[in-house]
């Protein structure tokens, strides 16, 4: 049979015929592509042929076996073959059909098909990793924010207390530095939180009606003072015809303009700074405004402009002034979130112009009165007001007690946790509860729910509750209100704001 095969196929360059004994010794071969010597073992030629041992050891009863697509290689040649074994009594005929090219073509198709599936999975995994990393980062920032804000509240609060005591000139200066640096740290935390929210897509853009003219007047008033102190001039120009009230996210617009103005003042030692607002276009109830913040400061080198809006970007010249390096990154992100545009033109040593275009809506044919912060006064009573402070941090307890007691109108009881708070309110009537949110045993939200829902006595169930937290975000505020609290204050707080909120709640309760 082998001779027959040899005669017929000897010249076919794609077929090699090998005759081996039952012991695997090559007896005959045409060496078409594998140069395997006669009288050597086929088992040594390639491990694939070791399969023949099995058939030699066990009588499988097979007469012929086919193995498609076998990768065979030796020192000289590499082929992909279909292999067939024909078993005779004393020997085995092996035929190798070389289909290398055909299999390589098929391989390309399979590669593309499988790769597309695997790539999709790889992308999904990468995405998952990135999301997990992002979530970790955000929760880390939120937690570290809380941890930092609590001691920072104490520092700022006590500095305010300290400033009201008799101090030497040097002590006053030191207190001023502590306050300035603490405020800087506070600003850095705010920036980090904002950037983290922007990047995680959790920063909500609000649509609220606000007095645009008042917003700009606010800048005019506050920055005129700064300009006077720096002995430079500051001007604002608002094009006539711009609506007094606009609909948009006032907080974010304020943040953008404040950031840019604050930067302009930082980098301008002489000359002037101006803020001008013009109408870009107006259609039905939509208006697009162009804001220009122009300064005669140190300017920005052309090669630095592409990196200006990147996080933690601070150029050599900046070292003269303080900053977090996050401000412009936040500005750019906020402008984009508000569907606006920002560009910068600058000439070193001449000055810089930031141009921002922002869209707003406005109400047609409506005018509204200016909303001013309502004034509240504590009810006129001979008795002092009793406040329950639920707080486990001793320093914060001390600070709040000091602030309230120094006012002369308050008694303060302290509960270390939610459980103690419940015990207190069952024993004594309170005019107000200040509830830290992260207290142990029962947290602030749960304690509030218990107070609101579990008591028939209105003195208990309707007591005003103000939440106190280091987390300054809308979600936290929302959680507080939903748990039944009346208001929320973020650490660190200003004493004036703190007292205002307490007064407001007690006054509202008295007129209820």
């Amino acid at each position: 049979m082998a001779k027959q095969v040899k005669n017929d196929l000897y010249f076919n360059p794609r077929i090699q015929v090998i005759k081996v004994s039952n012991e695997g010794i090559i007896q005959e071969t045409n060496k078409t592509f594998f140069d395997w010597d006669i009288k050597t073992s086929i088992y040594e030629a390639h491990p694939f042929f070791e399969i023949l041992r099995t058939f030699a050891e066990e009588d499988t009863g097979q007469e012929e076996l086919n193995f498609p697509c076998i990768h065979l290689e030796d020192d000289q040649s590499e082929r992909i073959c279909d292999v067939s074994f024909a078993f005779a009594t004393k020997d085995i005929t092996i035929v190798l059909f070389d289909y290398t090219q055909k299999y390589k073509d098929l391989n390309k198709i399979a590669q593309q098909r499988n790769e597309s599936v695997l790539l999709a999975k790889e992308l999904e995994l990468k995405n998952k990793f990135l999301l997990e990393k992002e979530e970790f980062k955000n929760s880390f920032i939120a937690n570290i924010n809380h941890e930092i804000r609590t001691p920072l509240t104490s520092i700022l609060g006590f500095v305010e207390v300290l400033e009201k005591t008799k101090l030497t000139f040097e002590q006053e200066e030191l207190a001023r530095i502590i306050k300035r640096e603490s405020l800087h740290l506070n600003a850095l935390i705010d920036d980090m939180i904002d950037l983290s929210k922007i990047e995680s897509g959790t920063l909500k853009i609000l649509e609220e009606r606000f007095s645009f003219q008042e917003l700009i007047k606010g800048f005019e008033t506050s920055y005129s003072k700064v300009a006077k102190a720096q002995q430079i001039s500051f001007e604002t120009h608002v094009e006539k015809g711009i609506q007094e009230y606009l609909i948009g996210d006032r907080t974010r617009v304020y943040q953008i303009l404040n950031n840019l103005l604050s930067n302009a003042f930082k980098f301008t030692e002489e000359g002037k700074i101006s803020l001008s607002i013009t109408k870009n276009y107006q259609r039905t109830n939509k208006v697009s405004l162009t804001f220009k913040i122009e300064d005669t400061g140190i300017g920005i080198l052309e090669e630095n402009i592409p990196y200006l809006f990147e996080r933690f970007t601070r150029f050599d010249l900046d070292k003269r002034v303080s900053g977090t390096g996050l401000g412009l990154a936040i500005v750019k992100n906020l402008v984009e979130l508000l569907n606006g545009e920002i560009k910068v033109d600058s000439i070193p040593e001449k000055g810089t112009v930031f141009t921002i275009k922002l869209p707003f809506r406005f109400e047609l044919l409506k005018s509204s009165p200016t909303q001013k912060k309502k004034k509240y006064t504590l009810p006129d009573t001979k008795n002092k007001f009793r406040v329950l402070l639920v707080e486990d941090e001793e320093v914060t307890q001390y600070l709040i007690m000091k602030i309230l007691i120094s006012k002369g109108n308050f008694y303060v009881d302290v509960a270390m946790n939610g459980e103690e708070a419940i015990n207190h309110i069952e024993r004594r009537k309170y005019d107000l509860i200040l509830m830290d949110l992260t207290i142990s045993k029962i947290d602030g939200y749960q304690a509030t729910r218990i107070i609101r829902n579990n008591y028939g006595d209105k003195f208990i169930s309707e007591v005003p509750i103000i939440g106190i937290s280091g987390k300054a975000d809308e979600t936290e505020r929302d959680k507080c209100i939903r748990s039944g609290m009346d208001d929320f204050i973020t650490k660190p707080f200003e004493q004036e704001e703190f007292i205002y909120k307490i007064t407001k709640q007690i006054a509202k309760k008295a007129t209820h």
């Binding site: 390639h46 491990p47 694939f48 070791e50 399969i51 041992r53 099995t54 058939f55 499988t60 076996l65 086919n66 193995f67 498609p68 697509c69 076998i70 990768h71 992909i80 299999y103 098929l106 391989n107 399979a110 590669q111 499988n114 790769e115 599936v117 695997l118 999975k121 995994l125």
Partner: protein, 165 residues
Amino acid sequence: MKLSKKVVLLGPFGVGKTSLFRRFVDNEFSEEYKVTLGVQIKKKVVQLPDGRELSMIIWDTEGHSDNVEDTRKSYLLGSHAFIYVFDLTRKETYASLNHDIDYLTKTYPKVVAKVIGNKLDLVNEKEITSQLKEHNIEFDCLTSAKTNKNVQDFFSDLATEITKT
């Protein structure tokens, strides 16, 4: 006579059979994915605990798309062990695992069948172990061909086991 045993790597495509094959035989790893068409075969001589040498003839087969029954029968002939590999990052690669193992053990009752979850470097071991438990997936070993985690030990243990049978 030299001791020689045939071991076949089986499982869906892209689970890392070739990576395990290359890691075990040549101690190499590549990030690049190259599809295996048909089968490639290599030999690795391992030392058994009793001092004998075993030639492990490893058959790295083309990954199947649906289930292991798609694998060409001739590739499985004369096997001493099957290593069924799945990808820890792709649930679909262990969706038919129990059915496949059932098929292999019933059709080839004398052949040792092992299950490996590969790409351990891409997942959290604790999490994936509990996920696999939830899906009733029993496995013999979790490996990473990339980092070589558990690869050599797995093959050494397998070599010992198949020389006992």
